[in-house]
């Protein structure tokens, strides 16, 4: 019973990964919109883009990690 609950929890935590994907998509979409409006400034901001994506993605990875812990370590 305990294990099955853990698996349900893992599934719920896994949803966090998808929600983080929304965040990453948001970062990329806004970057693209800005880049199309001012293409000359885009090249200098790719580093910022990757930093933003990394921060957004890290939180998704946290929820993925929780899912893994529930699946395999509880």
């Amino acid at each position: 019973m305990e294990g099955e609950l853990a698996h349900i929890g893992a599934g719920l935590a896994g949803m966090g990964t998808g929600i983080a994907a929304l965040g990453v998509g948001n970062v990329a979409a806004n970057f693209l919109a800005g880049a199309l409006r001012n293409p000359s400034a885009a090249a200098s901001q790719t580093a910022t883009l990757f930093i933003g994506i990394a921060f957004a993605e890290a939180l998704g990875i946290f929820s993925f990690l929780v899912a893994l812990l529930l699946m395999f370590a509880v």
């Binding site: 893994l68 812990l69 395999f72 370590a73 509880v74």
Partner: protein, 185 residues
């Protein structure tokens, strides 16, 4: 934390299970392998750091600097050649301008010489013409004076005749004075 210590405690058993059954559980949380991984990671990082900082990076940096140097040198040489070409062109232009001004100078000189000759000739001609004119004027004046004298003589004679014919004694001096008066007009 409880889970983790539990895991660490059971690590050896876990490993045995893992080898036997294909393992369930996260190998990442198997703390018994941590010292091993950290040790080998430290060795690896130290080796990479030494290789990079002692050999690879100075060498690649050197290559890049050398390439930049070569390119800069080549550019400088090209710049030099270009400057030389510009210099040569300037010298050519200078020579051209010199030749042109020399030619102009010679032409002006020749023109001045000719002008001087011309002026000379004109002056000489002018002087000759003036001399001739003066001579002619003198001749004309002589002729005119001659003519006036003749007129006076004729007038005097005529007057004396006319006066005699009218029965008067002509006074020479009075006649001469009257004629001179009339001639003045």
């Amino acid at each position: 934390m409880a889970t983790e210590t539990h895991d660490a405690g059971q690590a050896a058993a876990d490993m045995a299970h893992g080898a036997a059954q294909g393992g369930v559980g996260m190998p990442q949380l198997d703390f018994s392998t941590f010292p091993n991984q950290v040790f080998w990671l430290a060795v690896t990082l130290v080796v990479i750091y030494l290789v990079l900082s002692r050999v690879a990076l100075p060498r690649i940096g050197g290559i890049l600097a050398e390439r930049t140097g070569t390119i800069t040198n080549d550019l400088a040489a090209a710049e030099d050649l270009k400057a030389k070409a510009v210099e040569a062109e300037e010298a050519y232009n200078q020579a051209l301008a010199d030749a042109r001004s020399e030619a102009q100078r010679i032409a002006a000189e020749a023109r001045a010489e000719i002008q001087a000759d011309l002026d000379d000739a004109i002056a000489k001609a002018d002087a000759e013409i003036a001399a001739k004119t003066a001579e002619s004027e003198k001749a004309i004046a002589e002729i005119r004076a001659g003519a006036l004298e003749s007129i006076q003589t004729v007038a005097k004679d005529t007057t004396a005749e006319i006066v005699g014919a009218l029965g008067f004694q002509a006074d020479d001096a009075a006649v001469a004075g009257a004629i001179a008066d009339r001639m003045k007009g």
